[in-house]
Structure formats: structure tokens, C-alpha cells
């Protein structure tokens, strides 16, 4: 299995003149759909892709037909973000600490650019997230990919979360009061 560009163009090196400033809105919205709706959709799938497990993404990728060639706009890079929080949960912001993140950007042969920003240090995870992000911007492929990739990944995440939560809920205290009643 390979996802390298067949023609070898620009693999592993930023493409000339392919500035990252060209990224916003690079996925042309399908006719009639407002830009905010597309943005909300993209937020949703990028979140699902970032929170998915790498093994699940690999599996999903294995199922994809017509894998596109792509070139890197920015090869995977490991860095970090400063995680912010609020005093008391709701007050002024403060810096809690940092978190490792891997990011990359690429352009598939259809012209769409995909972006990967994922927690941790897996370059492969960022790469798969970015390539799915690019493919999902293709109005012709979105419905199928959403059905076959994004929904199952989201369902798997929800399942893990639900299982964890139901385990926690088994530890919920059920207070009861012992009534020492008067005889009547």
C-alpha cells in the first residue's frame, strides 16, 4: 500500500509556489451550500480524524478506492501547542502546559489541499488526516467518504467514550437514609 504520488512530483518537499496562505477556502464549496456550513462540516471531520486511533485510520485508508497522488505543501512536522485553561474553569486564561502535536499540509491531484493537525507525534496520523481532509473537500466523494470513513470513526470514538463513562457511572454513589422511625 502506498499513498505516494505516482509521478513522484514534489514528494517529501514543499511544492514551489504552493504557499500555505492558499489553504483557506481552497476546497470549493459545492453549489448552493453556504460557506459556514462547509466550514462546520470540515471542523467536524477534522476533529473526528484527529481523535481517531491510528490503527482505525490505517484500516479506513486500506478500504479507500482511487487513492489520489499528492504532493506535500508542508511535510509532517512535530511540534507543540500551549494548552490554555481558565482560572476556576470560567475566569481569565492561563497557560496550563504544552502538548505535542504533528501537523502537515498536502495537495491532492484534484487540486484540494488537506491539512492535518493531530495530537501526539505520529507523522502517519497527520498524513492520513490531511489526505482524508483533502478528499472530503471533493463534493463528488464527500458523501461516500463520510458514510464509510467519518461516521464509523466517530462511532468508534463514541463507543470508547460511552464505555468509559458507563464504567465510571458504576461508581456513582446512591445515598440512602436509614430511618429510625418511632413505633406507631
Amino acid at each position: 500500500m502506498t499513498m505516494r504520488s505516482e509521478n513522484g512530483a514534489g514528494v517529501g518537499a514543499p511544492a514551489e509556489g504552493a504557499g500555505l496562505e492558499s489553504l483557506p477556502g481552497s476546497g470549493s464549496p459545492p453549489g448552493g451550500v453556504p460557506a459556514e456550513a462547509v466550514q462546520a462540516e470540515r471542523q467536524r471531520w477534522m476533529s473526528v480524524l484527529a481523535k481517531a486511533q491510528l490503527s482505525e485510520l490505517e484500516q479506513a485508508w486500506d478500504q479507500v478506492e482511487e487513492r489520489p497522488a499528492f504532493q506535500w505543501l508542508r511535510p509532517p512536522e512535530i511540534g507543540m501547542v500551549m494548552v490554555r485553561a481558565r482560572s476556576g474553569g470560567t475566569g481569565g486564561q492561563f497557560n496550563l502546559g504544552q502538548m505535542t502535536v504533528t501537523r502537515c499540509a498536502l495537495r491532492v491531484d484534484s487540486g484540494a489541499t488537506g491539512l492535518g493537525y493531530v495530537q501526539g507525534r505520529s507523522k502517519r496520523h497527520a498524513e492520513l488526516a490531511a489526505i482524508f481532509d483533502a478528499l472530503l473537500q471533493d463534493g463528488g466523494r464527500r458523501a461516500v467518504l463520510d458514510e464509510e470513513v467519518i461516521r464509523p470513526l466517530a462511532a468508534a470514538y463514541d463507543r470508547r467514550r460511552d464505555e468509559r463513562s458507563r464504567k465510571a457511572n458504576s461508581t456513582k454513589v446512591n445515598f440512602f437514609t436509614l430511618v429510625r422511625g418511632e413505633n406507631d
Binding site: Q43, R86, G92, Q98, V101, R166, K172
Partner: protein, 365 residues
């Protein structure tokens, strides 16, 4: 006078070999894997991530293995590694109200919306050594009960419940566009504002904060605390990449949170009400967040017109000494060669001693 001291090179190389052998221990015992550390030494991993100030379970596990389980050394390793990474920016503030709660307790209210969820905790164990864990065949795969339903999707904060009555101070973001202090890029400044203090405490040494928090309870800071709420669970982390122009979730982290509620008699500007101390840490670091919340409240003395009488209220004392990487470095630098310094001290003490002896003789005559 500077005297070059050479000749330690081979000794140092050999010392590295000795430490590598010590770290490995008895070769007849299987070598520890990072997955084992990550999965079975989770609370050590959490402490290293919190005080190393970098959320990455794999790196924390590596640091713990490399440091032979010396957590302060592991924290140092993680902090050092961090300096090699580029920073992409700052996240949106995490929202602990939207936490997928695995543990949530309140010592202030028994019956409260969302209930008391004990989750994973050693609080209710007997603290007797469990020899089942020492058994050769191990513990296998322990089974956990599952409730029919998950924990409530959204659990109100205890502080918000009190807030309805106006009996507790509110935590509001006065100016959300304001610059947030960052100790990784700027030195500490005094007076230190809450953002700087909380960042310092969040990565501060647990033992130091625990002792200081304890001191406030014993009368060196009197702030009559209640554990209003303690939470453990997962929160989403959202980040807005420059090139995208809108925020996306990039992952999920486990955090511990403690909302401490404290008595406050009131001041010229404020009526009597409860005040708050806040603790937050990566992973499951409950004791740390409780200590942090106590110290956070104590450090609000200036803001609340309280007199600063005790160490835990003294921000310079607390913030300058909370970091175990700095503290460990400065204490341990005493091991570095001070041969020349010591020679001059030796000469000084000899001359003082001579004068002392002469004076004694004169006095005797």
C-alpha cells in the same frame, strides 16, 4: 584564578556505562517496555507530564525509564526535550464543564446534580499491601461493572450551584483578548498576576505545594477550605491553525481539576462570601490539584486585602521555589567542582583562625 581541570573524560564515559548497567538491573529479569510504563505506571506518567509541562504519555514513559523511576529527573528530561520543539501556537481554553467525567466528588454537598461519581481512586482502599499483585501469575484482566447509562453528559459545577445564591465570588474573564503570561518565554515578574501564578503552580513540584497547602491548613495562612468539587476526565483540545482561520479539535487530554471553596469575611469592597482556589493538572494528579488550589487561594492575599504573614501567602517565596527543575539544578550544582572557591575559603578560615588564636593569647597575658 582559573585552573583548568582535565582528566575526567574517561571516568565520565565509564560512569555512563555503569548507570546504563544499573538502569538495566539484573539481565535475567525481562527489560521494562515503554508500553508497560505507560499502561501500568500511569500516575507516575501523569506527574511527569504535569511537572514536565508537556502532555505526551510516550515521552513521559521514556523519561521515567531513562531516569530509573526518579520522577524529578524524568521531569527534567521532559522539560529539556520540550525546548527542541517548535511551538505552533496556543489552544483555545479547555472547557472543563464539558469534561467527559470519570470521577467527580464534592465534600460540600452530598446530593448534587450529577451525583458523586467515585471513579478510579485509592481513597476507599484499606491501604493494606495487596499480595495478589505479587503473585507470579499476575492479576490477569480485572473486570469492571458497567452501568446501564453513561454519566450525565453535562454536570454543573458546584461553584455554579453556589453562584445562584450569590454566596461565592464569580470567576469571569474580564478581558479575553488580554495577553496571557507565559513562563516558558518570559521571566517571572512581581507582583505576579493570577495567570502567571497558576502556570507556575501547575508545573510546580507536588511535594513543595503539598507541604505549603498543608501549612495553610495548620494555621499558616488560615483559609478554611472545603473541597467544593474534584473532577477527573477527558476534555477536547481545540486549536485554530493560522492557515485555516477557524478552530478545530486536534485531540483530547485527561485533566484533574479541584475547586476549593474558602471562607472570606469580606473587605471594604466585598461582602462576606466564599472565595475560590483553583487547581488543574494534566492526567490524574488529584493530590497535586488540591494542594495547588490551597496555595492559589493563599496567594490571593494581596487581591483580597489579607495580610501576608505566612510562607504560602508570599508569592516571591512560593513562585521562586516551586519549580523542581530549578531547585534540583541549584541544589545539585553544589556537586560541581568548587576546588578553587574552596581553596580560597580554606585560606580565609586559616587566617581567621590565626587571628583568633593570637587574640586569645593576648587576652590570656
Amino acid at each position: 584564578m582559573y585552573v583548568a581541570v582535565k582528566g575526567g573524560e574517561q571516568a565520565i564515559l565509564n560512569s555512563h556505562k555503569v548507570i546504563a548497567e544499573e538502569r538495566r538491573g539484573d539481565p535475567a529479569v525481562p527489560e521494562l517496555t515503554l508500553a508497560q510504563v505507560k499502561e501500568q505506571m500511569q500516575l507516575a506518567v501523569d506527574r511527569v507530564m504535569t511537572e514536565g509541562s508537556l502532555y505526551d504519555r510516550d515521552l513521559a514513559a521514556l523519561a521515567i525509564k531513562q531516569a530509573q523511576g526518579d520522577l524529578v529527573e524524568a521531569i527534567f528530561l521532559l522539560r529539556a526535550y520540550r525546548t527542541t520543539l517548535t511551538r505552533f501556537g496556543a489552544t483555545l481554553p479547555i472547557d472543563t464543564a464539558k469534561m467527559a467525567v470519570r470521577r467527580r466528588i464534592s465534600a460540600a454537598y452530598k446530593d448534587l446534580p450529577g451525583g458523586q461519581v467515585l471513579g478510579p481512586s485509592y481513597d476507599y482502599t484499606h491501604r493494606l499491601l495487596d499480595f495478589a499483585l505479587a503473585a507470579e501469575e499476575g492479576v490477569g484482566a480485572p473486570q469492571v461493572d458497567m452501568a446501564e447509562e453513561p454519566v450525565d453528559e453535562s454536570i454543573p459545577r458546584v461553584t455554579d450551584i453556589l453562584n445562584h445564591e450569590g454566596l461565592i465570588e464569580e470567576e469571569v474573564a474580564a478581558d479575553d483578548e488580554a495577553r496571557v503570561a507565559d513562563l516558558t518565554r518570559e521571566p517571572m515578574e512581581f507582583p505576579a498576576e493570577r495567570d502567571m501564578r497558576l502556570q507556575n503552580l501547575a508545573r510546580g513540584d507536588e511535594g513543595f505545594l503539598l507541604a505549603l497547602g498543608y501549612s495553610t491548613q495548620r494555621g499558616y495562612g488560615r483559609n478554611h477550605p472545603f473541597a467544593g468539587e474534584i473532577r477527573l476526565g477527558e476534555v477536547a483540545v481545540a486549536f485554530e491553525p493560522e492557515e485555516l482561520g477557524f478552530p478545530i479539535e486536534i485531540g483530547e487530554i485527561t485533566v484533574s481539576e479541584c475547586q476549593m471553596i474558602n471562607q472570606f469575611a469580606g473587605s471594604a469592597e466585598r461582602p462576606p462570601q466564599f472565595t475560590r482556589g483553583y487547581g488543574l493538572a494534566f492526567g490524574h494528579c488529584e493530590r497535586k490539584t488540591m494542594a495547588m488550589a490551597l496555595v492559589d487561594r493563599a496567594l490571593r492575599a494581596r487581591e483580597l486585602d489579607e495580610t501576608v504573614d505566612y510562607p504560602a501567602q508570599d508569592e516571591e517565596f512560593v513562585l521562586y521555589h516551586s519549580d523542581n527543575v530549578e531547585a534540583s539544578g541549584f541544589v545539585q550544582h553544589l556537586k560541581l567542582p568548587h576546588y578553587v572557591d574552596f581553596q580560597s575559603e580554606l585560606q580565609l578560615i586559616r587566617s581567621l583562625r590565626r587571628r583568633h588564636d593570637e587574640e586569645q593569647m593576648e587576652a590570656a597575658e
